[in-house]
């Protein structure tokens, strides 16, 4: 378990260094995800290492929990949100749901036509 956690942190650290050092527009953890993915692909065995799989499932099984501290931060911006509440709430609700519908439809038809 410690090895798996250290692997995740190491990938994140390498990602943060790469993002800052190379001035990449993507956050460090996303680059870390790519690094871990490439590392998994380059191994000889096909199965995910057991400890890494367990730690990843544990973290991702409660991914929603990890957004709560930042989510509660919305209370800091209540005055800002209240000032322009109509365009903001419309963009959030209608904009997000329309984007989900359009992306989903597009992906479904592309998946069908660009081969399985």
């Amino acid at each position: 378990m410690i090895g798996a956690l250290a692997t995740l942190l190491l990938c994140q650290l390498a990602g943060e260094i790469a993002a800052r050092g190379l001035g990449l527009p993507v956050p460090g953890p996303v680059i870390g995800m790519v690094l871990l993915f490439v590392a998994l692909l380059l191994r000889r065995e096909r199965d995910t290492p057991q400890a890494l799989g367990r730690v990843a499932d544990g973290l991702l099984g409660n991914l929603g929990l990890l957004f709560i501290p930042a989510g509660v931060g919305v209370i800091l911006y209540l005055p800002l949100l209240a000032r322009d509440w109509a365009p903001i709430s419309l963009a959030i609700v209608l904009g997000t749901l329309a984007s989900i519908a359009v992306t989903g439809r597009l992906a479904q038809s592309l998946l069908r036509h660009l081969g399985q």
Binding site: G64, S99, L106, A107, L110, L114
Partner: protein
């Protein structure tokens, strides 16, 4: 009980991360139980419930958000390693992902730009100020990237952070019902849509529903961060 003792307890609770951490975990546990009790009703999204309960609690008790975050940041910190861990479901579904790669890249790129465009269009229609409109454009991207984009196109990064989180919660809560409505049943397409429009919070939801949807949602979140960060500031300059 001596009054000095009470004050001492209060000082201890305010200074140590224990109270904030306990509250965060307890509220999350309650939100999960409530979701079960409401039979997974779409609006009973645990992130939505937990954030609403904690935000209401902090406002009612007059506790400063920064004091809460000083303790809760240990939970927040795990977001980084958890994002890295999204490589694991992606790897498990790699055979499926590889065959769908072209469709995934195309739909995420277009979907991400559509998300920005409709946000801007709705804001302009409602007569929003230019800085508010610019803050709404990177709405669908994961928070740190969205804040960076907002800064470059003349938005307010802090407003963007709030809007990004609200969009994620809305997408996670109502996205699956929307996808049912427009008859998107392919788990890969459902995942791509959730990750593109509702970033990590949508991915959290997708992962609890179906492993394929979760893997594609994580992929879409990463891809959308990349494509929107590259294309949106460019398009903004061309069209602005």
């Amino acid at each position: 009980m001596i009054p000095g003792g009470l004050a001492e307890i209060w000082v201890y609770l305010a200074r140590e991360p224990l109270a904030a951490l306990t509250a965060t975990l307890l509220v999350w546990w309650m939100a999960l139980r409530l979701q079960q009790a409401l039979r997974q009703h779409p609006l009973a999204n645990p992130v939505l419930i937990a954030v609403a309960l904690l935000a209401g609690g902090l406002l009612a008790a007059g506790i400063d958000y920064r004091a809460y975050f000083a303790g809760a940041q240990f939970v927040h910190f795990l977001l980084g390693p958890a994002t890295v861990a999204l490589a694991v479901p992606l790897y498990r579904e790699w055979q499926l992902v590889r065959r769908s790669a072209a469709a995934a890249v195309l739909s995420v790129t277009f979907g991400g730009l559509f998300a920005a465009a409709i946000g801007v269009a709705l804001a302009l229609m409602m007569g929003a100020a230019p800085d508010v409109t610019a803050s709404l454009a990177p709405r669908s991207v994961t928070t740190p990237v969205a804040m960076g984009i907002a800064e470059r196109i003349g938005g307010l990064p802090s407003l963007t952070a709030a809007v990004v989180i609200c969009s994620g919660v809305v997408g996670a809560a109502l996205g699956p019902a929307t996808l049912n409505l427009v008859r998107v049943m392919d788990w890969r397409a459902r995942g791509l849509a959730m990750g593109t429009a509702a970033h990590g919070i949508g991915t959290a939801r997708a992962l609890t529903v179906n492993p394929t949807a979760g893997a594609f949602s994580g992929l879409a979140m990463g891809l959308n961060a990349l494509t929107t960060a590259l294309l949106l500031p460019l398009l903004w300059r061309l069209l602005g």
